[in-house]
């Protein structure tokens, strides 16, 4: 139905197709987010979760970001640890994505793909728990250190542990986001470079890398947006000592049931994540040829 026309029956069908999704998304999802924003401007009333009143106030924001620097600290930690994890994830994602797209050996390709998709689909509880065991005081890493005669290192609760856990979550996504862009780099260009005298490494840096750069940027921004939003990894690997914004929202709310307050924090987190994603969108709309 290549209906690029304006015929009214075409329009009616279009509305029909989009209706269910629009219903769900606009009324439920967008509505929820708008409500969140409104709630962040409400006064906290200990008896109720949600209320609508005309009197708007910035008190919630002032409470967290006007009086003390603590929450700025949490935000900074979130951005910092998330950033480190993002950089590491993209760095190890590229070689894997490259090998998957460029290798001729079918068995290797299939194996790497399976490893990649599996690591993406493994349940997040499993992922976190696995690293808790690895990094625990009596975990695998410390066990190896002990058997080599070294002292144990306390991992859980450190930024390092959270970063490692985040990488474990983010890296499959970063890789999948890179596979498309690298694949789109025409192999005959690499061959032409080789024909003109460029050895493999040189051809890579001259041709493949520059041409996959938009993809790298897109992957990095996507990964960072997700890093900043992480919940499970920092929760357990940070042992409450190195929490990120998502954890703060959950913890504060479970303690105080202060919904407006939580909303304010949630809005801040949302704005942060969306800003990063906005940058992503800019990059993508330059490349994306669009639907249909």
């Amino acid at each position: 139905m290549s209906l690029d026309t304006d015929e009214s029956s075409g329009r009616r069908w279009l509305a029909l197709f989009l209706a269910p999704a629009a219903l769900v998304f606009v009324f439920l999802y967008l509505g929820a987010l708008c409500l969140l924003f409104v709630q962040s401007l409400q006064i906290y009333n200990p008896g109720r979760i949600v209320q609508i009143s005309g009197s708007l106030t910035l008190q919630n924001y002032i409470e967290y970001f006007g009086r003390t620097l603590v929450y700025y600290g949490f935000l900074w930690d979130t951005l910092r640890i998330g950033g480190i994890a993002t950089v590491i994830s993209v760095l190890i994602a590229y070689p894997l994505a490259y090998k998957i797209t460029r290798t001729q050996r079918r068995l290797l390709k299939k194996t790497l793909l399976t490893v990649l998709v599996t690591s993406f689909f493994i349940n997040s509880i499993v992922k976190v728990y696995s690293w808790v065991i690895m990094l625990a005081d009596t975990g695998l890493v410390n066990g190896a250190l002990a058997s080599l005669g070294y002292d144990r290192i306390r991992f859980l609760g450190t930024d390092l542990a959270v970063a490692i856990g985040l990488v474990y979550f983010l890296f499959p996504i970063a890789t999948m986001a890179l596979v498309g862009p690298i694949n789109n780099v025409d192999q005959t260009l690499e061959q032409a470079a080789a024909n003109l005298g460029a050895a493999n490494t040189k051809a890579f840096f001259d041709i493949t890398l520059p041409l996959s750069m938009p993809g790298i940027i897109a992957s990095t921004l996507l990964t960072y947006a997700l890093a900043v939003s992480s919940f499970i990894a920092p929760m357990f690997l940070g042992s409450g000592i190195a929490p990120m914004m998502s954890n703060i929202i959950y913890l504060r709310y479970s303690e105080t049931f202060n919904y407006p307050g939580g909303s304010a924090l949630a809005v801040v987190l949302l704005v942060t994540s969306l800003s990063i994603a906005y940058g992503l969108n800019k990059v993508l709309t330059k490349r994306l040829k669009g639907f249909g």
């Binding site: 929820a32 493994i122 499993v126 066990g143 959950y250 949630a266 987190l269 969108n281 639907f291 249909g292």
Partner: protein
């Protein structure tokens, strides 16, 4: 020229090392967990385990928290996947086959739950449900999971629709099939594979979710992931390891289904 051959060799070694390290990085934790799940000791201690025991599997299966949670997860996952698959088919069709203003924006919007922090989604839905008086946790979870999973079905089915040749639909129409028939006879069979893969993707993500569900679950209805999360807040007992192995079984199933439906390479090619 020989300088370049050394650089090439070095580069090759580096990349291979990175790949091996990556694969190890990915598989080692999983293997460790599997080992721990059979550990007879009552506490987390150095590997390897001194014996073999199924006590943690027993512990898991005996715990009503977990068995109920699993049942809830499957129900919520199944129903929400079904709904979001249907929603996804319609929405994808509208987005891909029609041109209209604001298409890009609408598309980004439908995919936004992927970018919006999960905690924010859960928290805001909590507020909305309180306001609207939706108190039953099962309902809350169902609606929330439709929202979380729909982007995955839309993304996957859209990509499949773009990939398939529009002239097949045009041929059907020129032979006399009206829109509905064309949709049923030509479009649906062609995108079958994308739909299956999208549904599997959606179900996996539903099963996986914690950050949205913790705000919406309660004593009556709670998903397995949420219950495991709560459990882990107090202890890291290997019961969780046993649960992990069970969940890995699910993952394995998902991978197989997707491979059968559309092939892992095409699936990954869609990106994110």
């Amino acid at each position: 020229m020989y300088f370049y051959r050394i650089v090439d060799l070095f580069g090759k070694i580096l990349v291979t090392a990175a790949l091996v390290a990556t694969v190890l990085f990915l598989t080692l934790p999983v293997i460790t967990t599997i080992m721990i799940s059979f550990d007879p000791r009552a506490y987390l201690a150095y590997l390897p385990p001194p014996g073999f025991s199924l006590r943690w599997y027993e512990s898991f299966l005996r715990n009503p928290n977990f068995t109920n949670g699993l049942r809830t997860s499957l129900i919520v996952g199944g129903v929400s996947t079904l709904i979001s698959t249907v929603v996804g088919i319609f929405a994808s069709y509208g987005l891909v086959r029609y041109k209209f203003r604001g298409k890009e924006t609408l598309n980004s919007f439908f995919l936004s739950p992927l970018i919006v922090p999960a905690v924010v989604t859960g928290f805001s839905l909590l507020g909305l449900f309180s306001l609207l008086g939706v108190r039953i946790s099962l309902e809350r979870l169902l609606i929330a999971h439709v929202i979380i999973t729909a982007p995955y079905t839309i993304r996957t089915i859209s990509a499949t629709l773009i990939g398939f040749d529009r002239s097949l639909e045009e041929a059907a129409m020129s032979l006399g099939a009206n829109r509905v028939r064309t949709f049923l006879d030509v479009t649906i069979p062609m995108i079958k594979f994308g739909v299956v893969a999208g549904a599997v993707f959606a179900f996996a993500m539903s099963l996986d979710d914690v950050s949205v569900s913790i705000f919406l679950a309660d004593a009556f209805s709670s998903t397995l992931s949420v219950n495991l999360f709560a459990y882990m807040r107090s202890t890291f007992e290997p019961t969780v390891a046993a649960a992990s192995v069970l969940l890995m079984g699910f993952t394995f199933g998902f991978i197989l289904l997707i491979e059968r439906a559309m092939g892992l390479d095409k699936f990954v090619g869609i990106g994110i």
